[in-house]
C-alpha cells in the first residue's frame, strides 16, 4: 500500500520521509555547534559588506532579471531563436497551427501509415 511499484523499481515515500527526518535531525544537531555567543542588537548581527555600511535593501536583492543571465547569454543562439519565434502576432499562431496540420498530413497520410 505504501510502496509504488514502477515495474523496474519501487518508491516508498514513508521510508524517504523517515530518512529525511533522520538526516534533518543530524543536520540540526551539527548546526547546534555553530556559535551563538555574539551579542544581539549590536553591530555583531550586521551583514559583513567588506567593512562598508550595508546598502539599501533594494540594492542588495538580486532581481529575477539577473538570474541565469550568463546561462541564457551563453546559449543565446538557441534562446534568441526561440524568443524571436514567439512573435505574438495572431497570424503566426494560425500559421503554426496550419504548419502542424500540414506536417501531420505529410507524416500520417502520405505514407498511408496512420491507420492499419
Amino acid at each position: 500500500m505504501l510502496t509504488l511499484d514502477s515495474g523496474s523499481g519501487i518508491w516508498t515515500p514513508i521510508l524517504w520521509l523517515f530518512l529525511f527526518v533522520l538526516f534533518s535531525v543530524i543536520v540540526l544537531w551539527l548546526r547546534g555547534f555553530g556559535r551563538s555567543d555574539y551579542k544581539k542588537g549590536t553591530d555583531q548581527t550586521m551583514i559583513f559588506f567588506s567593512g562598508n555600511m550595508e546598502p539599501l535593501k533594494d540594492m542588495v536583492h538580486i532581481r529575477s532579471t539577473n538570474l541565469y543571465w550568463g546561462f541564457t547569454e551563453s546559449l543565446s543562439v538557441v534562446f534568441e531563436k526561440l524568443r524571436k519565434a514567439h512573435t505574438g502576432r495572431i497570424n503566426d499562431y494560425v500559421y503554426w497551427f496550419v504548419v502542424v496540420l500540414a506536417l501531420l498530413f505529410i507524416i500520417v497520410i502520405l505514407p498511408g501509415g496512420g491507420l492499419q
Binding site: 509504488l4 514502477s6 515515500p13 542588495v60 529575477s64 546561462f71 494560425v94 502542424v100
Partner: protein, 520 residues
C-alpha cells in the same frame, strides 16, 4: 444504479452549474455575497455528485446516461433500410472520464472559493461567476460526453466562456488581446474538429463515439479526420509549437481562471486521448502516432522549459511550465502508444494519466500563489518582488510545496508520477528519459529563480506592508497543498485505484463499445 437520483447523476452534474450560471445575475441584483455563496454551494454540490458518480463508476463499471430515448423501443428513428436509431445524446462515463470529472469539479470549486476576495473589486462580478460556471459546464460536458458533436458544442462553450474570462480585466489592453488570441485560435481548432466530425458523419451517419468506433472502416477520410482531430485537440491542450496562446491566456487571466484553464487544457488532452484510444483504438499505427505524440511532447517540454527560463512575468512563466508539463503527459502517452503490446506500455499510460492529476494540482497551486502575489502587491513582474517570505509565511510554504511537486522532488506527488514516467520511458528509449529528466532539472531551476526573486532576499521597503493572503485565498491553496502531500506520501491511494482503472478504461476500446451498444 437503480434509484432515480443515481440514474440522473450525469445530468445533474451538468444541470446544477448551468442552472446556477443563469441564477447568479439574478441573485447578484439582491446581494453580492449571497451570489458568491450560491456559486460555491452549487459547485460543492457538483463536486459531491461527481465523487458519487465516480464511486459508482469505480465500483459498478461504466456509467451510461441517455438524453432522449433510453433504448431503441422509445422515441426512435426508423430508417427505410431497417435500422432503428434511438434519438438521443449519450453520456458515457468510464473511469477515465470520472477521473477528469473529479479534477474539473475540484479545480472549479477551489477557483470559485478563491475568487471570493480575488475579484471583489470588480463591478462585473456577476458575469464573472456566470462565465466561470459555464466554463465548468463546458469541461464536464467534454469529459462526460460520448458524442462527437456534443463534444464540439461543449468545447465551444468552454472556449467562449474561457475567452471572455481571460479578457475579464477589460481595463487592460493586454488581457483583451490575450482573450482575442485565445478565442480566434480555439475557434479555428474547433472548426477543424467540426470538419473532422463532418467527415466521420458523412461516411457513417453516426456521431456516437462507440458506434463510430465499431463501424469505422479506416478509410483515407478517416485518416484525414484523425489528423484534424489530433491537430485541433493538441492545439487546444497547448502542445508546442501551437502553444503560444497558452502563456498569453494563462498570464493575463485572473489567477482563479488560470486554474480553470489548466483544467480546460487537460479536458482537451482527455479528448485527444479519447479520440486516439477509443475512436481509432487498436487500428492506429503505433509507430507513427506514438512518435507523433512523443515529438509533440519533447517539443513542448523543451520549448516550455527554455521559454520559462527567460520569463520575468510570473504567470507567463508558470504558463510556459504548464506547456512543459503537458509535454510530459504527451510524452508518456506517446511512449504508451508506440510501445503498444510491450510490458511497459500500460505503465507509461498510467504514468501519463497520473501526471494529469498531479499537474492539475501543482500548476494550479502555483497559479494560485501567483494570484496571491498579484493581489497583495499588484506586481506582475518578478523584478518588482522580493523578501515576501517574511510577510507571507503560509503562501511561501504552499509555493515551496508547489515548487517541489512541479520540479519532481520527493516526497511530493510530482515525484511519484515523474518517476513512473522516467522509468517507463527509459525502457522504451533512454535518450527520451534523459531529456525528460534534464527538463525536470530546468523546471527546478526556473522555480528556484521564482522562489529566490519573490520570496527570499531582504525585505524590500516598498513591500514592507504586504499582508498575508485572506482566508478565502489561503483555503484553496491549503486544500491543494494537503492533497498534494497526501498523494505524495501515499501515492497508491490514488494510483492503484483511480489511475490504474482510468488507464485500463482508456485502453479498453471493446469495453467502451460494449457498454454503449450493449447497454442500449
Amino acid at each position: 444504479m437503480s434509484d432515480l437520483f443515481t440514474t440522473h447523476l450525469p445530468a445533474l452534474i451538468i444541470a446544477i452549474p448551468l442552472f446556477a450560471a443563469f441564477l447568479t445575475p439574478l441573485i447578484s441584483r439582491i446581494n453580492g455575497k449571497g451570489r458568491n455563496f450560491v456559486v460555491i454551494v452549487a459547485l460543492l454540490m457538483t463536486f459531491i455528485l461527481t465523487i458519487k458518480l465516480a464511486w459508482h463508476v469505480y465500483t459498478d463499471g461504466t456509467f451510461l446516461y441517455a438524453f432522449g430515448s433510453s433504448d431503441a423501443s422509445g422515441f426512435a428513428l426508423h430508417t427505410p433500410a431497417g435500422y432503428v436509431v434511438p434519438i438521443r445524446i449519450l453520456f458515457e462515463i468510464d473511469a477515465m472520464s470520472a477521473l477528469m470529472g473529479i479534477i474539473t469539479s475540484s479545480l472549479a470549486l477551489l477557483g470559485a472559493i478563491y475568487s471570493w476576495n480575488f475579484v471583489e473589486k470588480y463591478e462585473t462580478q456577476d458575469k464573472y461567476y456566470t462565465l466561470l460556471l459555464l466554463m465548468t459546464v463546458g469541461m464536464f460536458g467534454m469529459v462526460f460526453t460520448g458524442d462527437l458533436f456534443n463534444m464540439f458544442v461543449f468545447l465551444e462553450v468552454l472556449s467562449i466562456s474561457g475567452a471572455a474570462l481571460v479578457a475579464f480585466r477589460t481595463e487592460k489592453g493586454a488581457s483583451i488581446e490575450a482573450g482575442l488570441k485565445y478565442m480566434i485560435i480555439s475557434s479555428l481548432g474547433a472548426m477543424f474538429m467540426l470538419f473532422a466530425v463532418c467527415l466521420l458523419y458523412g461516411q457513417y451517419d453516426l456521431l456516437n463515439l462507440a458506434a463510430l468506433a465499431k463501424r469505422m472502416d479506416y478509410t483515407l477520410l478517416d485518416e484525414i479526420a484523425l489528423v484534424a482531430l489530433i491537430g485541433a485537440f493538441a492545439m487546444k491542450s497547448g502542445a508546442a509549437p501551437m502553444h503560444m496562446w497558452v502563456p498569453d491566456a494563462y498570464g493575463e487571466a485572473p489567477a482563479s481562471i488560470s486554474l480553470m484553464l489548466v483544467a480546460s487544457t487537460q479536458a482537451s488532452l482527455y479528448a485527444l486521448f479519447r479520440v486516439v484510444f477509443t475512436l481509432y483504438g487498436a487500428h492506429i499505427d503505433p509507430t507513427t502516432i506514438g512518435w507523433l505524440f512523443i515529438i509533440f511532447g519533447l517539443l513542448s517540454i523543451m520549448v516550455g522549459v527554455s521559454m520559462a527560463l527567460m520569463q520575468d512575468n510570473l504567470k507567463r512563466l508558470i504558463g510556459y511550465t504548464a506547456v512543459a508539463e503537458i509535454g510530459y503527459m504527451m510524452l508518456a502517452v506517446g511512449v504508451a502508444i508506440a510501445s503498444m503490446g510491450s510490458g511497459y506500455s500500460l505503465m507509461a499510460l498510467k504514468a501519463g494519466i497520473f501526471h494529469i492529476l498531479n499537474d492539475a494540482l501543482d500548476i494550479g497551486l502555483l497559479f494560485l500563489v501567483a494570484g496571491v502575489l498579484f493581489y497583495r502587491t499588484g506586481a506582475r513582474n518578478l523584478a518588482q518582488l522580493g523578501g515576501l517570505a517574511r510577510n507571507m509565511k503560509y503562501t511561501t510554504f504552499f509555493f515551496m510545496i508547489g515548487l517541489a511537486a512541479v520540479a519532481g522532488l520527493p516526497p511530493t506527488n510530482g515525484f511519484a508520477s515523474k518517476l513512473l514516467i522516467y522509468e517507463s520511458i527509459y525502457l522504451f528509449n533512454p535518450v527520451l528519459a534523459i531529456i525528460a529528466i534534464l527538463a525536470s532539472i530546468f523546471m527546478l531551476a526556473i522555480f528556484v529563480k521564482v522562489f529566490h526573486s519573490a520570496f527570499l532576499g531582504p525585505e524590500l521597503p516598498s513591500l514592507a506592508k504586504v499582508k498575508e493572503a485572506p482566508p478565502s485565498m489561503l483555503i484553496p491553496m491549503a486544500i491543494l497543498a494537503l492533497v498534494m502531500i497526501i498523494i505524495g506520501l501515499f501515492p497508491n491511494l490514488v494510483y492503484s485505484t483511480i489511475v490504474c482503472e482510468a488507464a485500463k478504461a482508456l485502453l479498453d476500446q471493446g469495453g467502451y463499445i460494449a457498454a454503449m451498444i450493449g447497454g442500449a
